[in-house]
Every structure is written in C-alpha cells, then in structure tokens.
C-alpha cells in the first residue's frame, strides 16, 4: 500500500455517527471533515463527549460510521470485508491507549512482541525485535519486567513500543499523556515524535493535555460532534513550563 498522491494519511468527509434510535438516539458525529498528512502529528482536541474517541475509533476501523466518506492510508475501508479490516488494522495501525492496556501477565518485551506474534512471526524473533526497540526507547534494563512493576511513564513507553514495533503507517493515540505527570508526558511525546513521525506515516493524538500541544503539526478542535477549527501551531515556539498558569484554552478542556 503506497502513500496517497495527495499526501493525506487519513481523510474524513462529512463523517456521521449516531448511537441508539428514537428518543435515545445520540448524534456523536455530525458531519466531521478531518484529515491528516503523512509525516505529521495531528492532534484532535476538545471537551469530553465531543466525539473525539468516536472519530478515532471509526478511523481505526473499530467502529462503523453511519454516514460520510473515509479513506485511511489511501484505502476505502468500506470496500474491505470484516476480516480484511482486521488484517488491515493489524498491518497498518498502531494503538496507544490512555490506560496503556498492557497484558499484565506478559513481560514488557512480550507485550511489545504481541502485534508481531499476532501477524505470524515466531515468538523468539518477535521478542528479539521487541527487545531491540525497547532498548532504543530506554527500557533495555526492564525487558523482563511485568507491567505492574513499571512506572506509568515506563508502561506508556512499552505501549509506544508495542504500537510501533510492526512499523504501522498510522498510529492512533488516545490521551497518551493523561495518566502521566508532566515530565513523563513530555518524555512520552518526545519518543512518539522521534519514532512515529516519519515520511509515509501519520500519527493522530487525542488529548486534553495542552502542555503537549507544541508537538502538533496540526490541531483539530472538536466540539459537539464537529470539527470547529483547525490550527497549525508554530512548532518553533518553546514549550510552556510546567509551573506556567494554564491558559484559558487549557482550562476549557481540562
């Protein structure tokens, strides 16, 4: 699968999604236009319940949309069968969750190896590759540690390694810094920016955390199921210091 000719990693046009029916019907997405470019880190921000998670779930192929058009990595996901979607997701997508969602019974390296093993690689080779990646991410001394013995920042680094180990072209991150202190959050975003943002790859980050907005190439602001604004911040600006008073913008999303 090659990059799209227009450089778009993900393209949503008038994407709609509702849950329930009748009086219980909830409009989660009310016609979302959203796009990400290869080689960029795109942020999706907005208050709780505005539809961010629903949108990334649809983009990741975890949820069916009600209407609109969607192209992911140049592929019309509607044309794929359910099984093909699973394989597409396995090959091309990486996930980073707010709660890490590591398997507690597996070591750090084994957790990272899971996507490779799921794709058919032998356990030994997969763990070797996971070891190499974790060492690169600074966890070389914790390869055999169980997730519960790791700090939050270390767990999130393991989760990043798991999301990247099979070299996906789209990485979807849901609040990757929400469970971390400021320093750990910065470290996680540094790792993400350094390892996930490459030519031919795109990263979508859903976040409330305005302290990491400076990592974004573009920020799509969502509200009430719509994208209300897209900004492209000046990435040369110094990141805000932790002690700095939160901005009005941050307060509105906190």
């Amino acid at each position: 699968m090659s990059a799209t000719s227009d450089g778009l990693g993900v393209s949503c046009r008038d994407v709609r999604k509702h849950f329930g029916s009748g009086e219980a019907r909830v409009e989660a997405l009310r016609g979302v236009d959203f796009e990400t470019r290869f080689g960029e880190l795109s942020f999706l921000v907005g208050p709780s319940g505005c539809g961010k998670t629903t949108l990334i779930s649809i983009i990741a192929g975890l949820l069916d949309r009600t209407g609109g058009e969607l192209s992911v990595l140049g592929t019309n996901v509607d044309a794929l069968s359910a099984h093909e979607r699973v394989l597409f997701r396995r090959r091309n997508l990486g996930f980073i969750f707010q709660q890490f969602n590591l398997l507690p019974a597996l070591t750090a390296a084994e957790n990272v190896a899971v996507p490779l093993i799921a794709a058919g690689m032998s356990r030994r080779h997969a763990v070797d590759r996971a070891n190499a990646l974790l060492s690169r991410l600074g966890l070389g001394s914790r390869l055999t540690a169980l997730p519960l013995t790791l700090s939050g920042g270390q767990q999130q680094r393991v989760a990043i390694a798991r999301a990247l180990v099979h070299e996906p072209r789209l990485v979807v991150c849901d609040e990757p810094t929400a469970s971390l202190d400021h320093a750990s959050g910065e470290a996680v975003m540094d790792l993400l920016a350094a390892n996930a943002v490459r030519p031919g790859r795109t990263v979508i980050v859903v976040t409330h955390d305005s302290r990491v907005f400076h990592y974004a190439h573009s920020i799509a602001h969502m509200d009430d199921g719509r994208i209300v604004d897209v900004t492209r911040p000046d990435r040369r600006r110094e990141p805000p210091r932790p002690a700095e008073r939160p901005s009005a913008f941050e307060e509105s999303y906190a």
């Binding site: 990741a60 699973v86 356990r123």
Partner: protein
C-alpha cells in the same frame, strides 16, 4: 498466541488456582460419589464374582438376584449335567445361619456351601490357612471382616471355634473375599456341612454352578440349559447385572445417590463454569486490546478454548488424583474395603467436566465476540 493465552490464564495466580481448584473439587465430588455408588452396586454381586471357577449359574426360574433363592431339586443337578456342552456342574448352597462365638457374640452370616468333591467355588485369596482344609469335618473359612466382627480386637488365628445350629465349627482359613452388600461375615464350607449348619429343609440346593465345554460359550450354554431344563441359567456377568438391576429398581439407593451426584454436578458445574466465565469477563479489556491490535476472532476463540482446555485438564487431573488418593487411603479400611476408583466413573466425570468447561467457554466466547474493540478507548 498460545503462550499469550496461557500466560493470561496463569498470570493472576489467585484466579488461576481458584479456577483449577473449583474444577478439581467438582471432579473429586463426582468421582467420589459415582465410584462409591458403583462399588456399592457391585457389592450386591460380590459373592457371584468371587466364584471364579464357574461361568454359568443355574437357578429357579423365579430367582432374580443373589439374595433371593428358591431351592432346586437335587435331580436338577443331574438334568443340568446332561445338557450338551456342560463340562462340569456342581451344587452351590447359600444360606444365612447365625454364627456364635464361645463368648456369646453372634452374627447372621452368609454361608456358602461348595461342592464336597471338587471344592469349586472356594475362595482363592486366603489371608491365613488353606481352602484345602475345608475337607476336614465341621470346618469353615471365614472372611477377614467377619472374623473381626466376631472376634473384635483379636489377632487373626486359625482353629478357633464357632457354633452354628448346635454344630461346633472350626475356622480353618481366613479369606479375603470382596465385601458383600450387607456387612455380614462370609463363610465357606462344604455343601454337606452347610446344610447341617443351617437346619434342614426339604430341598437345599440354592444354585448350580457350571462351566461349559471349550467349544461352547457361556451364553450359548445358558440358553441350552434353559431350553432343556426349564431352569433359569445366567452367565456370571448376566447374573451380576441381574443383582445390580434388582437393587437399582427395588431400593432407594440409586435415588439417594442420584440426588447426591446431581447436587455435586450442579454445584460443581456452577462453581467451575461461573469461575471460568468470570475469569474471561475480567479479562475482557485485555481481549479488547488484542482485538484492536488485530487479533482475529478465530484466534481469540482458539485462545479461550486453550485456556478452558488447560484449566479443565489440570483441574480434572488434580481432582482425579485427589479421588484416587482418597480411595487408596480407604481401600484397606474394613468398611470401605474393595472400593476402588473405577475407570468408568473417571470417564463419566471427565465427560461432565469437559461439558461444563465447554459450555462456560461458549458463553465466554460469545462475550468476547460481541465485544466492540472500540471499548478499549473507553478506559
């Protein structure tokens, strides 16, 4: 992904051991109750199975089981011997005289009178003495449990004296026969002595035991004997099942044990099934993450079945080990002697356990299959 499934299973030790022990105790309960029931039923035919010399039993047409005998005429023995295919046929007496010790202790006994000439039907497992000594006058062989009942706390010894129907009887051997259904002493003596020990009736012949010629099967011989004499003839196995069937149909034992077994099955199934189901439900988030990562439903089903099969096999093996240990410990106790873990009970329990585990797996699989992978984003 098999190692992932197994590590998920064993990762939380408390849940893992809880699941395995729930299945183990269910297995133990089922094997324990079914085995005790089956062995008690088998005891109803102990004295039949103990006569290893004979393959065919001949009795009055109305006789249904071992305890119920209507004496045959002495001439019936000659008629049976005259049936083609009978290699030999001899008399067997069964009665229930009262045996009394010199101290005055007494017990109703099973007295088996075997053929004077051949001693066919004599107990072959002897703890003390020899069955050959039955040729001595007024001699009996008593089983160990009977001896302990009549001479409690005393060491096993030969040549002790009993009184039966005003006859002085000498113990010439102590046997190790299978326990009878009723816990009565089992005594063997010669036929001519037995009828004296019980008191005379007009006819005495309880059974005729026979063995067919080499070219004739026991089943064919039973048919022939019945056709020629009008008497009821059964192979040893048929007669054993007649006894078991009689007790099943005419006593409350199967109902009582059936209730216990059903309770064990229900409680065990609910505990083991629910534990496994809850185990999967508690791991739903992990399954959701695997789904999101791109693990197919087929692979997830295989993982759950592997977990179920592993937990089921371990629990079943552990439970069977516990049951085997239990019966090994109690095998040599007087009241439970001869009760052994039967392979049929193990197989039946295994089938029940795996049925329960499969049902729990199917319910668990259903929950995983309907799980929306997007749920992993909801924290």
């Amino acid at each position: 992904m098999n190692f992932v499934a197994l590590r998920m299973l064993t990762g939380d030790r408390a849940k893992y051991f809880g699941l395995v022990f729930a299945i183990a105790f269910c297995t133990f309960l089922l094997e324990n109750q079914t085995t005790i029931f089956a062995n008690i039923m088998k005891r109803t035919a102990s004295q039949i199975l103990d006569v290893t010399d004979a393959e065919v039993w001949v009795m009055d047409p109305q006789t249904e089981y071992w305890e119920q005998t209507k004496p045959l005429k002495d001439t019936d023995l000659t008629r049976v011997r005259g049936v083609p295919g009978v290699r030999w046929a001899v008399r067997l007496f069964k009665g229930n005289p009262v045996a009394r010790t010199l101290d005055g202790k007494f017990a109703v006994s099973f007295l088996i009178g075997i053929d004077d000439a051949t001693l066919a039907g004599a107990p072959r497992k002897m703890l003390l003495g020899s069955w050959d000594r039955l040729r001595e006058p007024d001699s009996v062989i008593i089983d160990q449990a009977g001896y302990i009942l009549l001479f409690p706390g005393e060491p096993l010894a030969l040549d002790r004296t009993l009184e039966m129907n005003d006859h002085r009887v000498t113990i010439v051997g102590i046997s190790d026969v299978p326990a009878p259904f009723a816990s009565l002493p089992v005594m063997h003596t010669r036929y001519s002595e037995a009828i004296n020990f019980l008191g005379r009736e007009r006819t005495q012949l309880s059974f005729i035991i026979a063995r067919p010629d080499a070219e004739v099967s026991p089943a064919a011989l039973t048919t022939r004997i019945h056709e020629r004499t009008g008497l009821r003839a059964r192979t040893t196995e048929e007669f054993m099942w007649d006894c078991i069937r009689y007790y099943l149909q005419h006593t409350g034992i199967p109902v009582n044990f059936g209730i216990t077994i059903a309770v064990a099955l229900i409680v065990g199934a609910v505990v083991a099934g629910q534990t496994f189901y809850l185990f999967t439900i508690e791991n739903l988030k992990q399954f959701g993450a695997l789904k999101a990562i791109g693990v197919t439903n087929v692979r997830l089903i295989a993982m759950i079945l592997l977990q179920a099969f592993t937990a089921g096999t371990l629990g079943f093996s552990l439970g069977t080990g516990m049951a085997a240990t239990f019966f090994e410990i109690f095998l040599h106790k007087l009241a439970t002697r001869g009760i052994v873990l039967m392979w049929q009970c193990v197989a039946l329990t295994g089938a029940c356990i795996f049925f329960v585990v499969i049902v729990a797996s199917v319910l668990s699989i259903r929950r995983v299959l309907v799980l929306e992978p997007a749920a992993v984003f909801r924290g």
